[in-house]
Subunit: 337 residues, 2 copies
DNA sequence: GCAATCTCTTTAATCGTTATCATAATCAAA
DNA sequence: TTTGATTATGATAACGATTAAAGAGATTGC
């Protein structure tokens, strides 16, 4: 690899001049010299040594994307088929801005922060990572952080969050069921924190606005995608007769549930209506096709990256950015009016 | 951020001594000094400046993972839901070995190589990237490269490839159909290169071994996931009556096809049998559940990363590593014997 | 007692860029 | 002709870590 010093020597000029040309400081260099240097740079296929540059400028041009991962491999964001869209959105955006992406998959926010300071990472995107515990660690880190899908109150005070109006989306689809005559509506999820809690609240609010009382027995708890999921599906299917519709916290669970229902000869939507949230392939190719709430997961990545880039450029950004959702009406809801 | 120089000054010793302790060169430093330095390092929470270190050592501890991406967003590896598993496999493996991962999503191999030399990347994993054209560019790059799912003859001469025995997997599932009495078997794919070609060949070979003649009309061409897919599905469904079974090049296409069949009241497996390849969620949650060929996509990433790490350590590795596949018999094949 | 041998520590060069400041050259105005 | 301003170029010190080579003390052997 050829260096600036070597180029300067071969062209009989100083490193400063070469460096100025590289950085387009045209006012400092004569047109003639600029041409000579540029031609030579092209000829020798010069690539800067980024370590030297970053050392001199105390920067890195790296943006970190940290994804939550638990030891339990089935509850691991990277195992979710649709994160790759988000990753793609982030990568594309930051590469267009001249940055690089370093990907961390870990549950240990302290470990990530250590990496991040080692590499002098310019900014960080946290996806699904930030609990109140992580805030303390992240605060030490003086560079911009943007979170995705965080509902931590503490976190929102300190960092920008990009997410959906999960509550509204969930409200809308529950309300859609109600307009179709459903009143006995269950909610299916595997936990009641973060995004899932917001979706649960939207569901509850729609019930309330329709004058339907929410009982805890309306909540169907499914196990995460692990060995016990079959057992919990079995329990859920036994409860099904109490409802005419089920709001699932995600398309994945909606499709999982529908497979289990079909195995037990319970028909969707004739016997029970099912709706999801996310609008991904899983529901799109299912038959009957899943009625669900659409979100643009790639856009989440793009917007988060854009926001971070703005912060790096010194711009102010809002604390909370909510991307829109909309209903996708397909074939899993029966009109029972 | 505290530097070695500053630490040395505060402890009244030289940077060399501090550096030696950091690098565990215990033979060079007295036990007493080691303890003093280590305690101090912990106290001030020292993190090395990686740019300075890499500059001095001419390395980067970065491994690049390059994924093919076309401008056409529907034929883009990162849009494939199941790449994320592979990414996770790579990341986990290299992080455990003290490396970092930089992700490139691009179709321009020259651009990637430029990034890679800028960053002094220690090694590279190419997924779906390497055509004969890319070889020339990659050869200039003197560091280890491991490919995933490459069938380029030229490429295999130069770089290690990690993949499946796609031919065998495809042979096996076609053969399974034959043992169930099928003889009029179509093959569905969107192209005939690389992995898809290998799978096509396996299918053809199984046909041949069973004394069944392959005709070009057996090949059903589906369009990639873009606007025209519906049109091509329509054409395919009209041809369906000529066959009793269809071997799809992937689970994704199998599921896409089955949705289209259902929309036309053609039943699987009563009217036609369908099999896939990959064994992912899509087929698992479909009803009837998809009979398919299993591959471990995360393992691909892990093995590729392991192989690269071995090469970085100076070990020799085989030119070609093929991971096993196996049949997953579910409910989309009818016995017509 | 003196050189030889170990231990441990220090000095200083190096990696490739950037950035500050100084110098040199050119030109115009006073 | 001096002065000042402008433009082009050069010399050199950072940036933070690694590392070869030299130096300083302490210990040993004869």
């Amino acid at each position: 690899m050829i260096t600036i010093k070597e180029i300067a020597k071969q062209l009989n000029m100083s490193t400063t001049t070469v460096s100025n040309v590289i950085h387009g400081k045209t006012s400092e260099v004569s047109d003639e010299t600029i041409k000579i240097v540029q031609d030579f740079l092209k000829k020798v296929d010069y690539v800067p040594n980024i370590n030297a540059r970053n050392l001199a400028q105390n920067q890195s041009k790296i943006i970190g994307l940290a994804l939550k991962a638990r030891a339990d491999k089935y509850d691991n964001l990277i195992m979710d088929p649709f994160v790759s869209e988000l990753i793609g959105g982030v990568e594309e955006t930051i590469r267009n801005a001249g940055y690089f992406m370093m990907l961390y998959i870990s549950s240990d926010i302290a470990e990530i922060m250590r990496h991040v300071s080692t590499w002098n990472v310019d900014g960080l995107i946290l996806f699904g990572m930030l609990n109140d515990d992580g805030i303390r660690v992240s605060e030490k880190y003086k560079k911009p952080i943007v979170c995705i899908d965080t509902y931590s109150i503490e976190g929102l005070k300190h960092f920008t969050n990009v997410g959906l109006n999960d509550e509204q989306g969930s409200y809308d689809i529950t309300n859609y069921l109600i307009t179709k005559g459903h009143r006995k509506i269950a909610f299916l999820s595997d936990n009641t924190t973060g995004v899932d809690l917001a979706r649960l609240n939207g569901y509850k609010m729609a019930l309330k606005d329709a004058g339907i009382k929410y009982k805890t027995s309306n909540f169907l708890k499914i196990r995460p995608r692990d060995e016990d999921i079959e057992e919990s599906l079995d329990e859920i299917c036994k409860e099904i007769h109490r409802f005419t519709a089920i709001v699932c916290v995600s398309d994945l669970y909606a499709v999982t549930l529908m497979a289990a229902l079909e195995d037990r000869n319970i028909n969707v939507p004739e016997d029970i209506s099912v709706v999801g949230f996310d609008d991904n392939m899983l529901g799109k190719y299912h038959r009957p096709a899943l009625t669900t709430v659409h979100q643009d997961i790639k856009a989440k990545g793009v917007v988060a990256a854009d926001t971070l880039l703005k912060q790096l450029a010194g711009e102010k950004t809002p604390n909370q950015i909510q991307l829109p959702t909309h209903l996708v009406i397909r074939d899993t809801v029966r009109n029972i009016k």
